[in-house]
Subunit: 522 residues, 2 copies
């Protein structure tokens, strides 16, 4: 059993632990605070004398590769999630570690998926101590129910890069699933039977881990070009029959929403961007791969054609919708962190204007700037938004851990952040008094667009000014909340949780923004 | 005046200082020794809060940029040499530093050229204390004559990367001359009026320096693609009228040798590679941009066509000759560290098979392997080779510092290293008893090819075995030396030097391979 840690109250009024998994932690102190100290993490210096002179780092199996690393109880093993729910590498790696006798490992994925449910068994057996990373489905339940021995730590993609770069998390072994690799360890995600597009989420792991194992089902002769992951960071290369199920790695095609309410939201967001004066030549935007976001991009493209406007760049998660805009010449570049469908995978493999990016370029708060803040407008989702414009993307209103943060927090740095959300789901209000878990502070969320109207954060007087004369249904967020409460028969039930923390939500700078509490026994 | 330091004798029998510029140093202990210790250098952690949210890092002048860095006496300022003798950035940067009152700076270029002669004045005035980097022309003379206050430190391109990565040299400010950049600091060398091709020699500087200034004469809107240098490493961007003289940055066209002796050497080296069985499908090679090397590549291409053989990759220094092979389909990839002529610049800008590499990928000895050792055969030059197969590339036989090491030492890791040299120059023997300055140990040099015959290092029995039956003029190196001495009227004059070290030659691992001594007064 975890001991109940000391709690403190942070700058958004949430109680957060002062220590997590044995490490002292700082509460969130506001956007941009505190100033970082110290130096970037330096992994051990290696020597070419210890690597094969002919560059062939292949070993016979994942077990052989792992057994040649410095294994120890309590070690940290990291994986990336570009293979999504088709991943066949992370679980075998953890199972092999268990077979080799390691106990109490920390699994440090860039995200987890339902296919990773077997890690529950490894936690039950003691091989894995806890997970720091997104916790969805069965893993989210396991954590929410207080069964995980350590605390979950939810980090954004950029926060994860930062944590590795700053040395908050020292990775012992990084296992990188590579759709194509050469014997030297150069890895490419955009070609091969298991192609997933970019491999950026594994970048920090490759740069900073003590040992790096590339696992691939397609070996090409050196050089593997492009080398999204550099072989100069890789210790061992393992060839396996299959790293994943292609059908689960990328979707074959992009689905657009048909819901009239969601199409309305999407259309109004596009109109908002036009009316607010953001839609101008050379502008930039980012949209997720959810239904509203994809529909929004189509509406936006229509407005761009009408206005004769060309975007300088768009940020993916990329899909056919963005690829079509690139081909049509509506945008100059797609800067792509994740590749969601087959059209996007083909595009990133072939089109030099479709450029792979990484959490380092795009999201790292402890860098000399990042791409996220250069974007004029970003359209995101949320599970809840409150009247202080704070939003939640990680828990359900009942308190249960559901989702990882992904790049969501990092994207809030954009010039204009729009949350495009239905005002309620399953008769539970989305617009609420207080979000269950603060994942984004209100000062970083500018607009909440629902099918019942659009609320602009009062902090953004400039936007309100720009929108004078627009016939968009602008309303206060309290108005929308009131209407939704009336519709849904009142406020949502408060979450039924204990006062025992089971996970924490980091802000992009590593401070603690909120706590996920253990669910009360039913 | 420097105090005369304590000396020790290293594994190749050369006397080297135990301390250089106040830092204790280890003598060379043999190839692959010693094992490295410690961790890679970690530069200070930065925060996006301290950089413009819109990503525009432009400031009005180089002076403004420098004055916003943490300036101090004795600081280290680094530059790269991709603009070669056309560089108009390094000297202004150092002069600005002097104007801002900095004294005793160390200049840390990746190489120097005759255009950098004004640095002599800065050393005379006390603004610059000494230079660690290649010292040619007037700078070489200044050092050789004992006028530089600190010791020269000659590092290979890979050794320089290693020294920065390992923290041997901590760069305070890196100034990166960029033929194209965006306001965020992403830099590209392959486009723009001052295009130089790749920018790899500035990579370590960008990653590890405390402050990084990009200086460009062509600003494009974000994103500058490709971003050979990542804006996420850059603090300030300065736009100037011109970063260099295009005519001196790359040569308009590649000159091939017409000397019959050199053509003979080139032809025989190509034949050697064929007869030794190295010329086979999927092989790889590297050749410099000197006259013999370029002619060799043409002879090799002819043999490849005849044999129906295709190379998997070649390493540049790239020129039209390599580009033509790529276009013809004789090679799959050009992996390119430097781009020497206009055809090569155009190719690296346009052809995805012409890939920019860096000293990290190719040359860093303290990495998990590097590309240099994957190459089947490399053809290099030298100023002297001795009968122990040790070679010199940095000094003239009179002891005067003439050249930097470049990638030469790093290339010695190839499967077969061939030095293609005339047996004498200006009636001074090139094949000698003892090289003036050991720049490469004999165990890493396999073949010496001269117009008077080819000597194979007796350590390479495998090569001698493979060449049985070849009608190549194989001879012992002593035979060649004897013949050359007879022709030239005896052994070369011994260098006329004092016992005062003025510079040291590092091996790829940071140990000291040899010493350059102060010239005796004439």
């Amino acid at each position: 059993m975890r001991s109940v840690p000391e709690l403190t109250t942070n700058a958004v009024g949430r109680r957060v632990p002062t220590e997590v998994n044995g490490v002292p932690r700082r509460p969130y102190g506001g956007v941009g605070a505190p100033e970082p100290e110290g130096t970037r993490h330096g992994p051990p210096i290696r020597s070419c004398a210890d690597y094969p002179r002919d560059g062939d780092k292949r070993v016979g199996s994942l077990e052989e590769a792992l057994s040649r690393c410095e294994l120890r109880d309590g070690m940290v093993l990291s994986t990336h999630h570009h293979l999504r729910n088709g991943d066949r590498v992370a679980v075998p790696a953890l199972e092999t570690l268990a077979r080799l006798g390691v106990r109490d490992a920390m699994w440090f994925p860039s995200a987890s998926f339902p296919c990773h449910a077997p890690v529950v068994d490894l936690m039950e057996s003691g091989a894995v101590h806890h997970i720091e990373g997104s916790l969805n489905g069965p893993l989210g339940d396991y954590c929410s129910e207080g069964r995980m021995r350590g605390s979950g730590v939810l980090r954004s993609h950029g926060g994860r890069f930062r944590a590795i770069q700053d040395g908050d998390v020292e990775i012992d072994v990084a296992v990188i699933a590579a759709p194509t690799a050469d014997p030297f360890g150069n890895c490419d995600g955009s070609h091969g039977p298991s192609a997933c597009g970019s491999l950026g989420f594994a970048l920090a792991d490759s740069m900073y881990a003590r040992r790096v194992i590339a696992v691939t089902d397609r070996v090409v002769p050196f050089p593997c070009v492009p080398w999204q992951i550099q072989g100069n960071h890789v210790d061992f290369v393992v060839e396996v029959d299959s790293i994943g199920d292609p059908a689960q790695i990328v979707s074959g095609t992009t689905r657009l929403t048909r819901s009239p309410e969601r199409l309305l939201i999407a259309e109004q967001v596009a109109r908002f961007i036009h009316d607010a004066g953001i839609l101008r030549d050379g502008f930039s935007f980012q949209a997720g791969a959810g239904g509203i976001a994809l529909a929004f991009v189509e509406f936006l493209a229509r407005r761009m054609r009408e206005a004769g406007v060309r975007a300088r760049f768009v940020r993916g998660g990329s899909t056919r919708v963005l690829v079509d805009m690139l081909r049509e010449g509506l945008v100059d570049y797609v800067l792509d962190g994740q590749t969601f469908d087959l059209d996007a995978v083909r595009s990133i493999a072939e089109d030099p204007r479709h450029v792979a990016t990484t959490p380092f370029t795009s999201y790292n708060w402890h860098g000399k700037g990042n791409f996220a803040s250069l974007i004029d407008v970003v359209v995101l989702g949320a599970t809840e938004v409150d009247v202080q414009f704070r939003a939640n993307v990680v828990t359900h209103s009942d308190g249960r851990l559901l989702h990882g943060i992904g790049g969501w927090q990092n994207c809030l740095a954009a010039g204009c952040t729009i949350l495009a959300v239905p005002s309620f789901r399953d008769r539970i209000p989305v617009i609420v008094d207080e979000v269950t878990t603060v994942t984004g502070p209100g000062e970083r969320i500018d607009v909440v667009a629902t099918e019942r109207g659009i609320a602009v954060n009062p902090r953004r007087r400039d936007l309100l000014e720009a929108l004078r004369g627009s016939d968009l249904p602008l309303r206060s967020i309290e108005d929308i909340r009131d209407e939704v409460e009336a519709l849904c028969g009142g406020k949502p039930e408060p979450p039924c949780v204990t006062d025992e923390p089971v996970a924490v939500v980091e802000w992009v700078d590593g401070t603690l923004l909120d706590t996920v509490w253990r669910l009360a026994p039913r």
